[in-house]
């Protein structure tokens, strides 16, 4: 069995943007005629092609766990969709031996009106399990999901945590030869994520399962994957052992920069919201890229809003240079009365990171926006990268730390200590 289980050769996927010349149908003629009748000029968009993937070739061996990383728009999801047979390649071919199950989203096909039990059967079947398989694993799935008590309750009454756990539980019990997993571990609480990672790792180590895994979660990638593929603008930029590929990815992420801006439709976002710029500066307005930890740091996010969305959350992940999320913040974290008002058009929101929080190190700001409870609008191109110098010490004992050496820990807050009597 030395043949690769997946052989990807020269795969490319082209999307046509704008008005296509290919749709010369009767209907188009009709539409054009009508338009000229009512005197509306048709806006002619230039036909432009976009290769979401180009010349992608690599092999995956049986039992391997391969991570796929790359920035948004690098082609990761397109590649997974082609592998999952959801969309067709424009060129090239993929040879696959064995049953593929794809997990591009948690809870695909979950219906809010149906009960937990009904959704287990439905979701299982959608993911490719047979009725007999689901019945055999039903109790295991229920136990894993920890929602036994609510099996007969419609999932629309579930908390989002319960919903995700149930959805994951079904997915975790898929038993294909090849499992294709997109960034699905980004949801759910940390403990449950760990449980799922463990389950996936087990399947790979002991079950000989082949897994292709897309994630921004560096810890998960390092823990699970033996090899990784870095995609850049639709092409394979590097293949190799996970550590070296991750290093390359992070090194490419950005050099020191405190602001980044986007224009037009290439910026992260969709028809509702588009990111325009991210700017990081300290309280003096300095944006040198090296900040003192004794200063507050301001993250300004500028975005364009085309639709007033009451559940829009805009924020960012603050990551360490290793790519781990140190914390996440959204404007909606505050009391509703304190939310900055959303208006149509371009606007700028400021987030204030208090002084005395960071340790010495390098940090990345990755903006993101959600429609709360619905979907992600954009996520995570690294928009800014800055260094901090540890100097918020107020004690003579911190003097030694002042000369840029590191104190243990990801953050270095100064906490209050008191003596307890009695």
């Amino acid at each position: 069995m030395s043949d690769p289980i997946i052989k990807i050769s020269g795969v490319g996927k082209r999307f046509t943007l704008g008005e296509s010349a290919g749709h010369d149908t009767l209907r188009d003629h009709l539409a054009a005629g009508l338009r000229s009748l009512i005197g509306r000029k048709k806006v002619v968009h230039p036909v432009s092609e976009h290769w979401a993937l180009r010349d992608v070739s690599f092999d995956v061996n049986e039992g391997e766990v391969v991570g796929i990383i790359g920035h948004n728009g690098a082609g990761k999801s397109t590649l997974l969709k082609i592998l999952s047979q959801i969309s067709e390649p424009t060129e090239g071919e993929i040879r696959v031996r064995g049953r593929i199950a794809s997990l591009l989203e948690v809870g695909t096909g979950f219906h809010p009106e149906l009960s937990g039990r009904e959704n287990i059967y439905l979701n299982g079947a959608i993911l490719g399990m047979t009725h007999a398989e689901i019945r055999a694993k039903f109790d295991e799935i229920v136990a894993f999901s920890e929602v036994e008590k609510f099996l007969e309750t419609p999932v629309k009454r579930y908390s989002s945590g319960m919903y995700v756990r149930l959805a994951f539980a079904v997915a975790a019990h898929l038993d294909p030869e090849i499992l294709v997993v997109d960034e699905v571990l980004a949801v759910g609480d940390a403990a449950f994520q760990a449980k799922c990672l463990e389950k996936m790792g087990d399947a790979a180590r002991h079950g000989g399962r082949t897994i292709l895994f897309v994630s921004h979660n560096m810890q998960a990638l390092r823990a699970l994957c033996s090899r990784a593929v870095l995609l850049q603008q639709g092409r394979v930029a590097k293949i190799g052992d996970t550590a070296s590929v991750l290093n390359r990815y992070l090194a490419d992420a950005t050099d020191q920069q405190t602001s980044r801006s986007w224009s037009g439709d290439d910026s992260p976002g969709n028809h509702q919201v588009r990111l325009r710029s991210v700017h990081v500066a300290d309280e003096h307005g300095s944006a040198s890229g090296v900040f003192s930890t004794s200063q507050r740091i301001f993250v300004d996010i500028e975005f364009e809003c085309f639709e007033i969305l009451s559940t829009l959350t805009v924020g960012f992940d603050l990551k360490t240079s290793e790519g781990d999320v140190l914390f996440r913040s959204y404007q909606t974290d505050q009391r509703p009365a304190d939310h900055p008002p959303l208006k149509l058009g371009t606007q700028k929101w400021r987030c204030e990171i208090p002084a005395g929080l960071f340790n010495f190190g390098t940090y990345l700001v990755c903006p993101r926006a959600h429609l709360q409870g619905h979907y992600l609008i954009f996520e995570g191109p690294t928009a800014a990268r800055f260094d901090t110098v540890l100097d918020h010490g107020v004690s003579p004992f911190w003097h030694k730390l002042k000369n840029r050496s590191e104190r243990a820990g990801l953050i270095s807050p100064i906490l209050r200590w008191t003596q307890l009597h009695g």
Binding site: I82, S84, Q85, S87, E88, R97, G98
Partner: protein, 278 residues
């Protein structure tokens, strides 16, 4: 789990694509589950639940018998007007509902389509199938009302499933065409209610076409595939006098198959782009 060592090749498809019935058969459980889901959802959170499946045809039957039978005094060849309309409403309502549901089905399943692979044909098929339960309930009502109106059971009643198929296939054929078109042209959303509403007038649901239609229009009238199905139903329920005009009936069937086959070809041709477009 069986270890399938069969190699699959994913590459750009060219030329005519086969129907791949084997693949459909492999996913039959999903087909059943999706139909079952549609049925569950349709009646969940409705106060009357499945009673709607009874009320819909019965209320329409009452309205039609009053308007066409009592007020307009259309000819019914001695048959009780209630049974005459109910026998026609059964295939017609099944067709109308199934066509609406299935033409919208692919777009309504956009999320699943863009996240999981399975033969896409399953979606419009399951949408049409989910209407079968309602049709069975309506058939039960018909069978209960027949003795009440003094209509005797005839052996031809056993042929009902065949004529039901004559209503099922046009719904499926139309659903295949319209659901695939709907992915690209959302105009379909406006066309379908229109077809169903106008269709009611050019389909002999509330009247006997034999008594109203000039001879020269007969053939043209039978281009409507539902005419065949309705005539078949009335024949089974009400007897020989109501027998279909067979040349027209077979033409109805022919039209159905023409729509179905072209629909399947169009569907298979465009299927590969659904996930990119929807």
């Amino acid at each position: 789990m069986s270890h399938t060592n069969t190699e699959r090749v994913l590459r750009p498809s060219k030329g005519l694509i086969s129907l791949n019935l084997g693949e459909l058969w492999r996913f039959r459980e999903l087909l059943g589950l999706l139909a079952w889901r549609d049925i569950l959802i349709r009646y969940k959170q409705t106060y009357l639940g499945i009673a709607w499946a009874v009320l819909q045809p019965v209320l329409t039957m009452v309205v039609f018998s009053v308007i066409f039978g009592r007020l307009a005094k259309f000819e019914s060849w001695g048959a009780p007007y209630a049974i005459l309309t109910l026998a026609a409403l059964l295939p017609w309502q099944f067709f109308g509902n199934a066509l609406s549901e299935s033409s919208n089905s692919l777009v309504a399943s956009a999320r699943i389509i863009s996240k999981v692979y399975f033969p896409r044909l399953i979606i419009p098929i399951s949408a049409v199938l989910s209407g079968v339960l309602d049709a069975l309930i309506a058939t039960a009502i018909l069978l209960v009302l027949m003795p009440f109106y003094g209509v005797a059971f005839r052996p031809q009643l056993l042929l009902l499933p065949l004529f039901f198929l004559a209503a099922f296939l046009p719904a499926f054929a139309g659903g295949v065409w319209l659901s695939a078109l709907n992915v690209k042209y959302r105009d379909v959303r406006y066309i379908v209610p229109f077809i169903v509403r106008i269709g009611m007038y050019v389909t002999p649901v509330g009247f006997l076409w034999q008594t109203l239609l000039p001879e020269k229009w007969r053939l043209l009238f039978h281009l409507n595939p539902l005419v065949g199905a309705i005539d078949g139903f009335r024949w089974c329920v009400l007897g020989e006098k109501f027998a279909p005009w067979w040349p027209g009936f077979w033409m109805s069937i022919g039209v159905t198959f023409a729509v179905l086959i072209t629909g399947l070809i169009y569907f298979r041709q465009t299927e590969k782009t659904f996930a990119d477009l929807v």
